[in-house]
Symmetry: C2
Subunit: 573 residues, 2 copies
């Protein structure tokens, strides 16, 4: 029960403290969805919240993912008091194995499930140090002077999702991380609104809040609705149910298991991350199922189709995930059958629309029944929408607001809510960018003009940060128009081309059907070299190469309107 | 007024005719959005509906667009009686300059605006033949025995959008093309529902209907709503209004011009296609504006910001379009100012989400007010949604339904409506693929197992159809991990490598920072060649090259977990 009516914002109570400033440095997660990591620094002492992976942008072909830039922290290792994790999703924990050694392997604090996921992942990185990982409970208060950090429970779509409260010498900071308000969460208690109200009563200096849903009007859909809709599908499905979602959307997996039990279906989990996550959750008791519900794929033939549910990864159209292999008939144990009902229980991550469309079409083509989120509410975002954000603001009544997590457009629309709900002025709201230093005092929040090094770090295979802009640009060029290598053997005495120049081209034209063009190009190459060499002078090889790049590039453009990358090789003999 | 109540479906009246079969061959537009082209063939006589461009798929890097495959038609030139166009959008007319010569330059029939757009475009293709283009009016009946073709007006988002009615010896075929029902269209009359009802009364054998909106529940939004919402923005904007939409969304351009006049603003049109389209429309009277409303960009400085609207292209985040150049400060005449209000009056084409997001964020970052379709209804699709499709089915009561235009998932959901509204069986509905021959008689529609050649034709620069799967695969490989050319000069007598092998690599690693890896790789190259050559035998160069590809590929993978394309060049001397 609320102890008092929610009143308009009041000045946050200021704790006795030094007159220092709190620095907030977002190292990722602003102006993007993912790669969350935030530094809080007070008089040289540092705590960090989350350390996540990001998805490569469109102009990063071949890149596996991105991680935050920790340059700023690397000479402050001994000042880092700890890293605090909000939940076990990779965009919040995934950069740990790459970065932890760089910042001196500080202690990590996380809920039991989050800690277990971090720990399990570390096994794949034998060169990353043994972690100093502490599993904390909701009531724990971690004192790392001058900070006092505690956690409180919010709803998301993975169990053990915490928001973080940081007591600093200048006041209370609340970092929501991913959250939504759900009166009927899966296998979980709703957020304790009274507790939030009490925080508000005591005074919150600054709220750092998830912006991901800030462009969506209304309340996020309750998981109860999702359950009801999934149940409609379970009721009517006579064959197997194949449900795909994110490997980390563990609350949805729980829903599907519970429904399968209600409809007398055994459950097969497919997909590496999902399997691994479900195992961890089962061990810790976060996923509840009857003893014999989960079976292995090889046991499927013991049951009629009407008694089987397969839950797997791949709802984003990822090429190697379960659902794609199933749809393409490439999965060893689960192949598409007429009569299968396929449920896409996830939204489409921006950028994946066309892969998901192709996957859906492939399923339709092969005669499956498909249900996806456009047809009914069988997926709810884990992120609060505008009404949730308004509610959080009303409960906490922070003096200052710093929108986090999301594209700039989301953050900007989030900022509007601070003005609307709490009558904040623009000066009370910090719209910052990654790397930008934000300074907070009891009276003022300042988005400074100062940035720490925040160049994005790209991971590609074993390489961390070794792919440069030049490498990316070359990949883009070659993916558009291919490349064209010219190999000419030249007599270093006379400057004459010996024999015919060799040409190797890929991704430009189909060589076998372009004999005439290649013939003309060879002629042009010989001409160019001959014209460029001035008899009786030293041969200027770089000049010849440039000349070839230029002349042959133009020649091919005129002939084809394509600009392959031209690479001249001159072998002197 | 409807002459009689709409009754449940009745058997379509069959006209007196031969007992022949009508062949329907979709050459594009099924299982995709765009590239619309359909062949109707009766006893060897052929008519064609539309001839459009498609967008390249994700796995077609560097491709400009796709066009239908006309192989089937190329030995039937003298049988083609005409091509009938529904409207002037490029996904319906854009392939004309590429394909018209291949099929014998048959007569083209189009509404005045569509004809003008086709004609204007042809200017850019001096090698394409002079078109035999006939501008037709709504009441015209074109008799091309055994077909009689007429047009009727439907609403879309470009003026002069026609659906097509084809009388064939076996019955009436109606081809809606892109349409929606809108009681309040822009500058246009609503669709004549009574006329549709009369067609239904006379009997429609088969309806070929637009599936693009078939996954959206409800009625498409009326342009009246869009106008009302745009007006809210016009009312509150004090600075310039910068409105971006598709260059071909001419009804939206009209709305924005009309509103600008109401709010005393001059209008500047930006973007090549939009400018060209607006000029054509003005000439033909399809866009109405007062005499001095449209001004040139260079006259902008004569007016205060509050009296200016710029309408331009680029709402999809296209890199060279007006809005992107404006946002990046690269536009000569229109630069972003604080106080500008930017309206994204278009949906996001699937695949463009992340470019649009980046563009929006760039605008937010630079302090603009942004309005987009998620915030309010300031864009309506030109495609009927499920309620529109139901209405069309109720009015026309076709005996058979063939969903066209759209991904398979859209077509499949469209098919459900035939069952729902007209109690069709699955046998009454033809779900076909591009190239698949559909046969229609008075009693039966059959999706045969026979396909005509329907390999997609890709256009890349001047090349039409010359980019093969191999070229595309190479582009994809190089875009992911780059390429690695090895040049070794080998003594053909001894098989020994002379000097150090040369390496050229792009898109793989940053060469300057990978000296050690390159050193090791050179060593490995020399080793590999030495080991492969068997002294005293003829040197097997292809074997050596394969060996290098294999060994160096594996070596680099172990070192980097990347798989660049390896291209060994051996120069014998």
């Amino acid at each position: 029960m609320l102890r008092q009516k929610i009143t308009p914002p009041e000045v946050a109570s200021a704790r006795p403290s030094s007159k220092g400033k709190l620095r907030i440095i977002p190292l990722g997660g602003l102006g993007e969805v993912g790669r969350n990591m935030t530094v809080l620094e007070y008089e040289g002492k540092i705590i960090i919240i989350d350390m996540g992976l990001g998805f490569p942008e469109l102009d990063m072909p071949g890149i596996d993912f991105t991680i935050p830039n920790t340059k700023y922290l690397e000479d402050k290792k001994d000042k880092i008091l700890g890293i605090f994790f909000t939940h076990g999703h990779y965009d919040h924990i995934g950069a740990v194995p790459y970065l932890i050694a760089r910042i001196g392997n500080p202690p990590l604090f996380a809920s039991p499930l989050t800690a277990a996921i971090i720990k399990k992942r570390q096994i794949d990185f034998p060169n990353s140090p043994k972690l100093n990982l502490k599993s904390i409970k909701e009531d724990d208060v971690i004192k790392v002077a001058p900070f006092e950090v505690s956690f409180f429970h919010v709803n998301h779509n993975i169990p053990d999702d915490y928001a973080i409260k940081v007591e600093t010498p200048i006041g209370t900071i609340i970092y929501t991380s991913d959250f939504k308000f759900d009166p009927h969460p899966v296998n979980d208690k709703p957020t304790d609104l009274e507790q939030l109200k009490r925080f508000g009563d005591k005074g919150v200096l600054m709220l750092m809040e998830d912006s991901t849903g800030a462009e969506e009007e209304g309340h996020s859909t309750s998981e109860q609705t999702i359950k009801d809709n999934l149940e409609i599908i379970f009721k009517q499905s006579k064959g197997r149910i194949i449900a795909a979602t994110f490997g980390s959307l563990l609350n949805r997996v729980q829903q599907l298991i519970t429904l399968s039990e209600a409809y007398n279906r055994k459950v097969i989990i497919q997909g590496f991350t999902m399997k691994s996550n479900v195992e961890i959750c089962k061990e810790l008791g976060y996923i509840k199922s009857e003893k014999n519900t989960l079976i292995e794929a090889k046991e499927m033939h013991n049951y009629p189709d009407s008694r089987l549910t397969v839950i797997g990864t791949g709802a984003q159209g990822e090429s190697n995930a379960f659902l794609m292999r199933y749809a393409n008939g490439e999965h060893k144990e689960v192949q598409l059958k007429r009569g299968d009902t396929i449920i896409f229980s996830s939204s489409v991550v921006p950028g994946n629309e066309r892969s998901v469309q192709a996957l859906k079409d492939n399923l339709y083509k092969r005669g499956a029944h498909v249900f996806h989120y456009k047809m009914m509410d069988i997926h709810a975002s884990g992120h609060g929408e505008r009404e949730d954000l308004r509610e959080m603001l009303r409960l906490l009544r922070p003096k200052f607001l710093m929108p986090t997590h999301g594209y700039l457009s989301m953050m900007a629309r989030h900022a509007e809510l601070g003005e609307e709900v709490l009558k904040m002025t623009k000066d009370d709201i910090a719209l910052a960018e990654n790397g930008q230093i934000v300074e907070l005092t009891q009276d003022k929040i300042t988005v400074t003009k100062n940035f720490v090094d925040s160049n994005i770090i790209m991971v590609d295979g074993l390489g961390v940060g070794d792919v440069s802009e030049i490498v990316l640009r070359d990949r883009q060029l070659m993916s558009a128009d291919g490349m064209f290598v010219i190999i000419a053997v030249v007599d270093s005495q006379t400057g004459k081309v010996k024999g015919e120049p060799d040409i190797i081209s890929r991704g430009f034209i189909y060589m076998k059907e372009s004999k005439d063009l290649l013939y003309q190009t060879r002629k042009k190459i010989k001409e160019t070299i001959t014209k460029t060499v001035i008899p009786g002078t030293d041969i200027n090889w770089p000049y010849i190469r440039n000349s070839l790049r230029d002349k042959i590039g133009k020649f091919l453009y005129v002939k084809t309107r394509r600009r392959p990358m031209i690479l001249p090789v001159i072998v002197e003999i």
